[in-house]
Amino acid sequence: MKIKDFLMHSSLSHDDFTPLAEGYFGEENLDTEEVGYWKASWRRLKRNKIAMVALFLIIILFLFAFVGPMLSPYTYDQQIRGHEAMFPCVQHPFGTDRLGRDLMVRCMIGTRISMIVGMVSAVIVMIIGSIYGAISGLIGGRVDIIMMRVVDIIYSVPEILMIVVIKMVIGDSIEKLATNVKMFVGLQKIGTGLIAIFIVYGLLYWVGMARIVRGQILQLKSFEYVTAAKALGCSRARLIKQHLLPNCVGQLVATVMLQIPSAIFTEAFLSYLGIGVSAPMASLGSLTSEALNGFSSYPYRVIFPALLISLIILSFNLFGDGLRDALDPKMKK
């Protein structure tokens, strides 16, 4: 009753409460739809043509690597009699190698291995680097100085030399572990070389990420919401997990994306030295470096895997660049 009385006495009529007709405000855009961080980033990313082409390429390469081998009539270690050293033809679009193995399947498996190496390493780097960087940045003071000196030291290690040494040290013990201990027999299937590469990444390559995260945390630390969280009795671990890391996720994702090509590059280089994956497994690096000996007579054996490496690295680089711009619009001036 009271509301009705009120309406009676006020100048408002019932019509005032009906929705406005569409286009009432004319051309003026009154879009009030709420756009979240990820949706906004995706919109920015979609506008970047180069990044979208790169994303498309990455999807194609994924299908090539993970679905391709299932569709192929051959397996990567199958030696087909009478098909040795064939040039590319209808049966074998990439040709075959000296032992009669179909190079297209081997390239598919190689792409798969290279992509796995790239992504797993990137994840390892992200986890270690972000936790280390966050702790160092948040605690600050003497702890920060010491932790950053450790980073500096690892930074000035000649990395390739270290990789080779560490790989020789741990590659051997992993081999022993895989053959002797029942629980780890599965490791042998993945290849001890690959695991060694992951460990090396875990030991050496997280430092760049740690520096970036620390820088971000130092900036975020001075924001009011962090002070508020602290005042409400938030523990340090929770502060890092709930408040700080989610706020540098844009930088994190972009850096991780750019880490993938660098890992693939390193794997290719290690294969060139002959300490990458073990035969008959194939990575793009090992395929290229194995084929280098007969380069002048069988150029196709080098060209296909080398092209694939370049394509993977190129598309991840371009996509990573686009992603960085999209996720962190403040960075783009």
Binding site: I153, V169, L292, P299, V302, I309, I313
Partner: protein, 306 residues
């Protein structure tokens, strides 16, 4: 005064880093299975004798102490396997001189070509020249070094017979230099381009234009100087990586430089050589970073030390 204090601190830290690297490498190296004399066709007796002669039968910590005290006297020891009996320091100086020959040329060409093309690309943004340079540099950055080396070799010396296949001091140096310089050149192009684009947007350039300066002055006097600052920070790591990273170029083109000892010393367990090369390379990286930081401060007074 502040600069001096900063420098002393940095030098001290650099020495600390080097010490840590020496220690880590020494113990890691001894964890590797096998010993320097495993490939030798000798009886177990002679092998044991050799091991005892070099003191490799003692506990690792004792060996470490002895190595450090020798190191402080400037003694890097003698090579066990690769060039048996020769002083490591002699081997390093001799082979590094060769590495320098291609390294310095690669460095100079990378800097000149990289910065020039980067500037052109940035100043002519979105024009055909820019697109061509960007595509080429993206390809250069995504191709592994050994693929580039072999492609050059097949095209230029096997098919076209323009250049000799192996290294010499004249024409034979061209391909190793290109191999070594390509990645850094492409990286520099991208870096310079990005930095130029950033500077071109800044207000002070509008002021310069408003004052009626010619476009030439705007770009060459005012824009370029500031846009090269980020490039300078990259020059330190670049120099270190070009001078130490010649492994691929040297092994493909048979250059008798330090790069070839890089991996062979590890696989043959030539302990003193591993240590020597590691110390040499790490000091180079540490020194380059130091020089670069100080240079950075000298070029851009806005930067506060530490």
């Amino acid at each position: 005064m502040e600069t001096l204090k900063y420098m002393v601190k940095r030098v001290f830290l650099a020495l600390l880093s080097l010490f840590a690297i020496v220690t880590i490498t020494f113990f890691l190296m001894n964890l590797m299975p096998g010993d320097p004399f495993m490939s030798e066709k000798a009886t177990a007796e002679t092998r044991a004798m050799l091991i005892a002669k070099y003191g490799l039968d003692k506990p690792v910590i004792v060996q470490y102490g002895r190595y450090l005290s020798n190191l402080l006297k400037g003694d890097f020891g003698t090579s066990y396997v690769l060039q048996k009996g020769r002083a490591v320091r002699e081997i390093i100086t001799e082979s590094f001189a060769v590495s320098m020959q291609i390294g310095v040329r690669a460095l100079i060409s990378a800097v000149i070509v990289g910065i020039t093309l980067g500037c052109i690309s940035g100043l002519y943004k979105d024009r055909p020249v820019d697109s061509v340079i960007r595509v080429l540099s993206s390809i250069g950055i995504s191709t592994p070094g050994y693929v580039i080396a072999f492609s050059l070799m097949i095209v230029l010396s096997v098919k076209m017979k323009l250049l000799p296949v192996t290294y010499d001091k004249g024409l034979g140096a061209i391909m190793p230099v290109i191999t070594l310089a390509l990645y850094s050149t492409c990286y520099l192009i991208r870096l310079t381009r990005a930095s130029i684009l950033e500077v071109l947007n800044q207000d002070y350039l509008r002021t310069v234009r408003a004052k009626g300066m010619s476009e030439f002055t705007v770009i060459f006097v005012h824009a370029l100087k500031n846009s090269l600052i980020p490039v300078i920070t990259y020059l330190g790591p670049l120099t270190a990586s070009i001078l130490t990273g010649g492994f691929v170029a040297e092994s493909v083109f048979n250059v008798p430089g330090l790069g070839r000892y890089f991996v062979t010393s590890i696989s043959s367990r030539d302990y003193t050589m591993i240590m020597g090369v590691t110390i040499f390379y790490s000091s180079m990286i540490v020194i380059m970073n130091l020089v670069c930081d100080i240079l950075y401060k000298a070029v851009d007074p806005r930067i506060t030390l530490d």
